[in-house]
C-alpha cells in the first residue's frame, strides 16, 4: 500500500519486465498487510470485538447503547459529508474537502474529550467540529466564502479550521502551555495529516511539547495521501515512530476502528490531564474521496486501492458489532436515518439561506483597536459605492451592492 517514490521509480525503470512490476505490486500488498497487522485494534472488519490489554480498560464501560451513539455520529457526519459535496456541486459552497473513510478517526478522537478541552483542527475535520457542537452550516459559511470563521472558538472550545498545513500543532502546544501555567486539568488536542508531518511547524511543536511536558495530544490522521502524494514520500517509517525520537510516547491505531481510536485518545488525554505530558497518535485510515471537490484522484492513484479499503469501512464493522449485540434493530436503523436526514436537511436549508455579506464587512475585525488608516479607507469606499446606488425608501443609500 505504501508507495515510496523509490518503488515508483523502480517500477518505471523495469517497466519492460512484467515480473519486476509484479514484484513491486506484491511488495506493496505485503506492506499494506504488514501495516494492518501492526495496528492496535478493538473491532475487526467483520465486527468481532478483539481483546487488547492496553486499550480495553479505556472502553470497558461502553455498552451497546454507547457504541450505537458512536455509530450514529459516524452515520450523521457521513451524510453531512455527502451533503457538502452535493452543495459544492450545486454551487452553494465554493469547495468541500470530503472526510469519507475518516469517520472513526474523527468521532473516536473528538468523543474522548471534555467540554473544557480545546481543539485545533484542519479543513478536513468537519466530524470533529460536529462532535464539538459546531453547527454544520457554520462551517459552510466559511466554505461559501461568506465569513472568515463560522463560530466563536470559545463557545465550542475549538479554533477555526486551519488551512496552513501544520500551523495548528504549535497553537495547540502553546494553548497547552497556558493550561499548564494556569494549573488547570484541561488538555489541548490537535489534528494533523500525514502530509503535515513533514512541516517544520509540526516538528517544532513536538519539541516544544516535549521540552515543557505540555498537556497536548497530537492526533495524526494518516489517510495515506497528501493531495497526490503518497505517505511514503513524507515518511519512510510509520509516522508514529517519529514521536519517541522527540521523547513523546506514541501509538499506532486502526483509524477505521472507532473503539480503538476512542480508547487510544482517552489514554493519551488522561496522560496529559494527569501531568504525564504529550502523546502522539497515528490513526491509520484512508481518504476514500478526492482531496477536495476540485481534485481528480484518477490522475495519481489506482482505483483498485479503494477496493482494498472498502471492506475496512468504519461504519460497516460497527454495524456488524452492534448486530452481534442485538442492538442494530429496525428502530435504531430508522433513528439513525432520521438523524442523518434531519441534519442534512438542516445544513442544506441553512447553507442556502446564508446571506451575502455587506460591503462594509470587508473592513470589520481587522484590528482590535480603532485604526485611523482603515477607518478612512472604509469611509471612502462606502462613499464611492454610494454613487452607484439608487436611494432607498429611507433615503439612505444601501452599501450592500457592488459597483456594477
Amino acid at each position: 500500500m505504501i508507495q515510496t517514490p523509490l518503488s515508483a521509480e523502480r517500477a518505471d525503470q523495469d517497466a519492460a519486465s512484467r515480473t519486476a512490476v509484479g514484484a513491486v505490486a506484491d511488495a506493496a500488498t505485503q506492506a499494506d498487510a504488514d501495516e494492518q497487522a501492526s495496528l492496535a485494534r478493538l473491532v475487526s472488519t467483520s465486527g468481532e470485538r478483539l481483546p487488547n490489554a492496553e486499550l480495553d480498560p479505556w472502553v470497558a464501560e461502553l455498552d451497546a447503547a454507547a457504541i450505537a451513539e458512536l455509530y450514529q455520529d459516524m452515520a450523521v457526519i457521513r451524510r453531512l459529508d455527502a451533503e457538502g459535496t452535493a452543495l459544492q456541486r450545486q454551487g452553494e459552497i465554493g469547495l468541500w474537502p470530503p472526510l469519507l473513510g475518516q469517520e472513526a478517526s474523527q468521532i473516536g478522537s473528538a468523543r474522548a474529550l471534555r467540554g473544557d478541552d480545546f481543539v485545533f483542527a484542519t479543513y478536513r475535520d468537519m466530524g470533529v467540529a460536529w462532535a464539538r457542537g459546531v453547527r454544520p452550516s457554520d462551517l459552510n459559511r466559511v466554505w461559501r466564502g461568506a465569513t472568515a470563521s463560522g463560530w466563536n472558538p470559545y463557545e465550542v472550545n475549538m479554533a477555526p479550521l486551519q488551512v496552513i498545513i501544520g500551523a495548528q500543532t504549535l497553537h495547540a502546544t502553546g494553548y497547552a502551555l497556558g493550561i499548564q501555567n494556569d494549573g488547570a486539568d484541561a488538555v489541548a488536542l490537535t489534528y494533523l495529516g500525514d502530509g503535515a508531518s513533514s512541516q517544520g511547524d509540526v516538528n517544532e511543536a513536538l519539541i516544544f511539547a516535549a521540552s515543557y511536558q505540555a498537556p497536548v495530544v497530537f492526533f495524526c490522521q494518516n489517510n495515506h495521501w497528501a493531495i497526490s502524494e503518497p505517505v511514503g514520500l513524507q515518511a519512510h517509517r510509520p509516522i508514529a515512530d517519529r514521536a519517541p525520537g522527540f521523547g513523546i510516547p506514541s501509538m499506532r491505531v486502526d483509524g477505521n476502528d472507532v473503539l480503538a481510536v476512542l480508547a487510544a485518545t482517552r489514554l493519551a488525554v488522561e496522560r496529559a490531564r494527569t501531568g504525564g505530558g504529550p502523546s502522539f497518535i497515528e490513526a491509520v485510515t484512508y481518504r476514500m474521496g478526492p482531496h477536495t471537490t476540485a481534485d481528480d484522484p484518477r490522475k495519481y492513484r489506482d482505483p483498485a486501492d479503494l477496493e482494498i479499503w472498502a471492506p475496512r469501512d468504519p461504519l460497516a464493522r460497527i454495524e456488524a458489532l452492534l448486530r452481534g449485540l442485538g442492538a442494530f434493530t429496525r428502530e435504531f436503523e430508522q433513528q439513525v436515518a432520521d438523524a442523518a436526514d434531519t441534519a442534512a436537511a438542516a445544513v442544506r436549508a441553512e447553507t442556502i439561506a446564508i446571506a451575502q455579506p455587506a460591503a462594509h464587512e470587508l473592513f470589520e475585525h481587522i484590528y482590535a483597536e480603532p485604526h485611523s488608516g482603515l477607518a478612512r479607507q472604509r469611509a471612502e469606499y462606502l462613499r464611492y459605492l454610494a454613487q452607484f446606488e439608487e436611494p432607498t425608501e429611507s433615503g439612505q443609500p444601501s452599501t450592500d451592492g457592488g459597483a456594477r
Partner: protein, 336 residues
C-alpha cells in the same frame, strides 16, 4: 505561432528549459503525477523522470532550503509554491538565504533558483489561496521579481527566469491561466525582449496607467472604455516588478503628466507606493496631478463573497483615472 493558454505556455517554457539544460530541475508539492494543482507541470515528470521533476515532501521551507543546496551544487531548481499563501513557511529561506548567498560569498556562488507562485484573487477561493505577496520580495535585495500577463510573455519569461543567474520570483496570475493567446515557440530566447523591460501595451496621451499580472487586462479594458469618453490612456504592463523599468515608465509619465498605478495587493507599503515615489522623484515637474493608486484595501484577502469589493475592477480603475484627471466629483475608490 501556436495558440496556448497562459498555463500551457508556462508548461511549454518549462519543457523547453528542462530539455535545454540537464541541470534544470523542477521541485514542488504535487507537481509530478498530478502535474500540479493547476496542471502547469502536466506531463513533465513522465517526460523527464522523477529526479528532474520531483514531488517534494509537504514542507515549503524544506523545498527552498534544499534548492539552495542544489544551487551550490550547480543545479537550476525551479520551485513551485502551490499557492501564494503557502510561500510564508519558506519566507525565511528566501529572504535570509536565497536572496543573499551571492552577496555573502562575494559573488562566488550564484543561486539561479526560480520560484513559481500562482498568485492573486478573483477565483472565489478559500483562505490563503488569493494573496498578492510580491511586495515582500520586491523589498528584499538580491531577488528579481517578475509577473507575465500574456501566454507569450509567460512562455518567454519563464525561460528567461530559469536562465538568469539570480533568484527570480515568478508570479503567475492564476485567474488568467486559462486565457489563450498566440505564442511564437520558435523564436530564439536571445531575440526576445529582456525579462526586465516594461511593455507599452496601449499607447495614449492623457494618462499613464501601470499594471501587471492579473490586472493588465482590466487596465486595457479601462483604456477602451475611456476612449469612448474621449480620454486617451497609455497602459504599461510592468512585467518586471524588481527591478522596475523606470526609463520606460518615466518616458510615459513625462508625455502624459498623469499617473495611475493599480495592483491587487494592499496599497499600504505596496509596489504602487514605490512606483509612485520613484516616478515622482523623476518626473515631478511633468506631473499635472498627484499620482493615484488603485489597489486592494489594507485588509487580509477577504472571503470569496467579498472579493469583488476588495479587487480593483474596471469601475475603480476608471474612478482612479478620473481623479488623476482632477475631475470634480470623483469619489475616492482607491485604497490609499
Amino acid at each position: 505561432m501556436t495558440v496556448m493558454t497562459l498555463a500551457g505556455a508556462i508548461n511549454a517554457g518549462l519543457r523547453a528549459a528542462l530539455a535545454a539544460d540537464p541541470k534544470t530541475m523542477l521541485m514542488g508539492e504535487d507537481i509530478g503525477a498530478l502535474g500540479g494543482v493547476y496542471r502547469v507541470t502536466d506531463g513533465l515528470q513522465a517526460e523527464f523522470g522523477p529526479r528532474r521533476v520531483m514531488d517534494t515532501p509537504l514542507a515549503e521551507s524544506g523545498i527552498l532550503g534544499t534548492a539552495v543546496g542544489l544551487g551550490y551544487r550547480g543545479y537550476r531548481p525551479v520551485v513551485e509554491i502551490q499557492f501564494d499563501g503557502f510561500i510564508f513557511p519558506a519566507f525565511d529561506q528566501i529572504v535570509s538565504q536565497v536572496s543573499r548567498t551571492h552577496a555573502r560569498t562575494n559573488g562566488v556562488v550564484s543561486l539561479p533558483i526560480t520560484i513559481r507562485v500562482p498568485f492573486g484573487g478573483g477565483i472565489g477561493s478559500a483562505e490563503h489561496h488569493s494573496e498578492s505577496p510580491e511586495a515582500y520580495f520586491a523589498h528584499t535585495p538580491g531577488l528579481r521579481v517578475v509577473s507575465p500577463s500574456t501566454p507569450q510573455d509567460a512562455f518567454t519569461m519563464i525561460q528567461q527566469a530559469i536562465a538568469s543567474n539570480d533568484p527570480v520570483l515568478f508570479f503567475e496570475p492564476k485567474r488568467r491561466y486559462h486565457v489563450k493567446g498566440e505564442v511564437d515557440v520558435d523564436r530564439p530566447l536571445a531575440d526576445a525582449a529582456p525579462m526586465g523591460g516594461a511593455n507599452v501595451v496601449v499607447t495614449g496621451s492623457d494618462v499613464t496607467l501601470l499594471a501587471y499580472g492579473p490586472l493588465v487586462a482590466t487596465a486595457m479594458d479601462a483604456a477602451t472604455a475611456a476612449r469612448a469618453e474621449g480620454i486617451s490612456i497609455e497602459v504599461i504592463d510592468l512585467r518586471s516588478l524588481a527591478p522596475l523599468d523606470l526609463d520606460t515608465l518615466a518616458a510615459s509619465v513625462q508625455k502624459t503628466g498623469r499617473l495611475v498605478v493599480t495592483h491587487e495587493a494592499p496599497g499600504f507599503g505596496g509596489l504602487g507606493a514605490e512606483i509612485v515615489a520613484s516616478l515622482t522623484e523623476r518626473c515631478f515637474e511633468y506631473l499635472e496631478h498627484a499620482p493615484v493608486r488603485v489597489t486592494g484595501f489594507d485588509v487580509p484577502y477577504p472571503p470569496a463573497k467579498l472579493e469583488r469589493h476588495y479587487l480593483p475592477d474596471l469601475d475603480r480603475i476608471m474612478d482612479g483615472v478620473d481623479r488623476a484627471l482632477g475631475r470634480v466629483g470623483a469619489e475616492a475608490g482607491a485604497a490609499s
